[in-house]
């Protein structure tokens, strides 16, 4: 019985990790149709912000939750202004430019901090279910995933800013005719996506440690999740994470971590063959 609970909790934490690492990409790719191949490096920068801040003696919660999104969000603003803005609507060029950015970031961080894994202990300690011990931080990640998804959804659904952003993405000329400056909306949306990625990096840093190349571990999973999710940003990310996270965690429990990952990929491929426009391209189409 307690084993079933523990497996369920691990599945939840697997899903939460996928949601957290994909949400920033969902905003940038799902809303703006910008393929940001440097998404993984935004995560990595967030991770380094957390590690460096924690190393400098700053409170662990500020290092993990506050500094990474702020710093990476600002960085995203700069990247949008210098790079992304010039390439809107040119998908291939954007891919090339962001890929270049990703290589430059890996190289730069490598030069600054060395190609070494660094990390710190996860806060919060552990709790017990029956004869099993679990990390509270894992559960904190689940909570964070819920809060983040809900916040993104609420902002888009209920605030004027969300309405303007959705309107601009749908029809930027009409939005401009109504007195909205589309380039500012784009810049803000990209920065928000970058901030979410930075926060994700900060959140996973204590679990997995950070290294300049860590982005490559996450970017494929993030893209698979967002594309499998389909057009609706929050619903798509949640349903796809739910499905893929369950498959990979159950696979890991039943067999090995390698086969768990293989299972995730197989399900994603089959799903995209059956639903080429993602889960929310067919179901729940009116959702956000």
């Amino acid at each position: 019985m307690d084993y079933a609970v523990v497996v369920a909790l691990q599945i939840l934490s697997g899903i939460a990790t996928l949601v957290i690492v994909s949400l920033g990409l969902a905003v940038v790719f799902g809303m703006m149709r910008v393929i940001n191949l440097a998404h993984g490096e935004f995560l990595m920068l967030g991770g380094y912000c957390a590690i460096l801040a924690h190393g400098a003696g700053i409170n662990v919660w500020i290092s993990v939750l506050a500094l990474p999104p702020v710093i990476v969000g600002l960085f995203g603003l700069v990247v949008e202004r210098l790079l992304i803005r010039r390439l809107y609507g040119r998908m291939i060029d954007t891919m090339l430019a962001t890929w270049g950015l990703s290589l430059a970031l890996i190289g730069g961080v490598n030069m600054a901090f060395g190609n070494t894994v660094s990390g710190f202990s996860a806060p919060l300690g552990s709790f017990t279910i029956g004869r099993f011990h679990n990390s509270v931080y894992d559960m904190f990640l689940v909570l964070a995933a819920v809060v983040l998804s809900f916040s993104v959804w609420a902002v888009l659904r209920f605030t004027p800013a969300g309405l303007i952003a959705r309107g601009t993405m749908q029809n930027s000329e009409m939005a401009a005719a109504l007195g909205v400056a589309p380039d500012r909306v784009y810049a803000a949306t990209f920065a928000a996506g970058a901030a979410l990625s930075g926060l994700a990096g900060g959140l996973i840093a204590p679990l997995s440690g950070v290294v300049p190349t860590m982005g490559t571990l996450y970017i494929a999973k993030a893209f698979i999740t967002v594309i499998t999710g389909g057009a609706s940003m929050v619903t798509g990310t949640l349903t796809a994470s739910g499905l893929l996270g369950t498959v990979s965690t159950v696979g890991t429990f039943l067999t090995t971590p390698v086969l768990g990952e293989v299972g995730l990929l197989v399900v994603a491929i089959v799903l995209l063959r059956l639903l080429p426009r993602g889960i929310t391209g067919r179901f729940l189409r009116q959702s956000l």
Partner: protein, 415 residues
């Protein structure tokens, strides 16, 4: 006389050039004709740099020490270090370069067994002598290759009985998913069964896995008395972090065939690391006059940049170079065959890690083995097992009787 502008520049440049070259000319004059070329191939970056950096430091230290003592055969030793960036492809590339372009007389290097098996055939093909200075799963039988690190019959055979006696008979193995982890798990299984214990399960993880949540739950479900890890590299350090974060540190004790072989004990906080047990043929904390003298000189050379040596990899690299140097001195030559024959004549060195004897039959070493536990970012040595021969490799390999042999024997145990 009218000196043209170009002529003037040319003369100045030549003068400058010869001045720059002066120290080099003087040095070679002092130490014979050509320098002796030695190549080191160790990962200074990437996931394996936690092992590579101290190894490089020790190799540099050994070369400097030899040169300060007049070099070898009156010639200076010139060391080139290549950084394969934890990438196997670069290993083969650098090994080829060392053999063909640099014409190195010996290559020291390789950290993971995967990297060793990548460069060993290359160096054998080019007849370039090869030293592998890492504790590994044992069984390499190749006359061109000397393995100076300890092997399972030396370290696992000490670790497992200690675990069985102290913590209990039910063992769970977590290991890296490549030849080292797979083969070492078989050795752990063999010694556990011989000690009357039982292996509940063995889980293998690719080197880039960082999420051990499901694995930790699986271990708890299996309820072992102890966990033995053969995890490798920086990413796998997450296991010990997540293990402690889940509160398992106080529940199920850990032993490892790899932890501490690099600087893991520095990376982990005392709450995460303390109490984990390992066995190697060296620990920096060894209290012997030779080791203290070595560490003082080592500290003097690197100052504030002195790396922590941890377990045996770095020390074996220092010993490996000195074994080779001893072979060269005895052979009075740097040529491959005379040096191999000299090395097979029964060389024994007093080293900071204790006495090391090179076994002519297997090209492995007889070493002192130490059992230690992590304690406050370092190790506390618990037990010493003097002069342990490499019986695992010796049971299958005899290079005196079969000098042309070239293979790695693998222990045959089903997990």
């Amino acid at each position: 006389m009218n000196i043209g502008r170009r002529q003037a520049i040319k003369t100045t440049l030549m003068a400058a050039g010869s001045m720059l070259a002066m120290p080099a000319i003087m040095r070679t004059a002092a130490l014979g004709a050509d320098p002796i070329k030695v190549v080191g191939i160790h990962d200074a970056s990437g996931g394996l740099d936690i092992y590579g950096k101290p190894m490089i430091a020790c190799l540099e230290f050994a070369v400097d020490e030899t040169n300060a003592g007049g070099g070898l055969l009156g010639r200076e030793v010139q060391l080139t270090n290549y950084d394969p960036q934890s990438n196997i492809q670069l290993y083969t590339q650098f090994a080829t370069q060392a053999a063909t372009k640099d014409k190195a007389v010996v290559v020291h290097g390789g950290i993971t067994s995967a990297s060793r098996e990548a460069i060993r055939p290359v160096l054998r093909r080019f007849n370039t002598l090869y030293f592998y200075n890492t504790q590994y799963e044992g069984g390499v039988c190749d006359r061109n290759c000397f393995c100076t690190g300890s092997t399972p019959a030396q370290n696992v055979q000490k670790l497992v009985p200690y675990v069985l006696e102290k913590w209990g008979k039910k063992i769970y193995i977590v290991a890296a998913d490549y030849n080292y982890g797979q083969i070492t798990s078989k050795w752990v299984t063999k010694y556990t069964r011989e000690g009357g214990g039982e292996i509940l399960a063995a889980d293998f993880f690719p080197l880039d896995v960082t999420n051990f949540g499901p694995a930790i739950s699986k271990i708890q479900a299996a309820k072992p008395d102890a966990v033995i890890s053969a995890l490798v590299g920086g990413a796998h350090v997450s296991f010990y972090r997540q293990w402690a974060a889940a509160g398992m540190k106080k529940q199920i004790p850990l032993a490892s065939t790899t932890l501490g072989v690099g600087n893991e004990s520095i990376l982990l906080s005392p709450e995460e690391g303390d109490g984990i047990v390992s066995a190697f043929s060296y620990f920096q904390e060894l209290d012997s006059p030779l080791n203290r003298a070595f560490l003082d000189k080592f500290q003097a050379k690197f100052g504030s940049k002195t790396p922590y040596l941890g377990g045996e990899l770095a020390m074996r690299t220092y010993v490996g170079f000195n074994l080779w140097a001893e072979g060269v001195k005895r052979a009075k030559s740097i040529d491959r065959m005379p040096v191999i024959e000299a090395l097979e004549s029964g060389i024994s060195l007093e080293t900071p890690a204790g006495k090391t004897v090179l076994d002519p039959k297997t090209h492995h070493t007889t070493v002192d083995v130490f059992l230690a536990e992590v304690s406050n970012h370092g190790f506390k040595v618990l037990k010493t097992f003097p002069q342990q021969p490499p019986v695992d490799t010796a049971s299958v390999c005899n290079l005196i009787e079969r000098p042309n042999e070239n293979q790695q024997y693998v222990v045959n145990v089903k997990i």
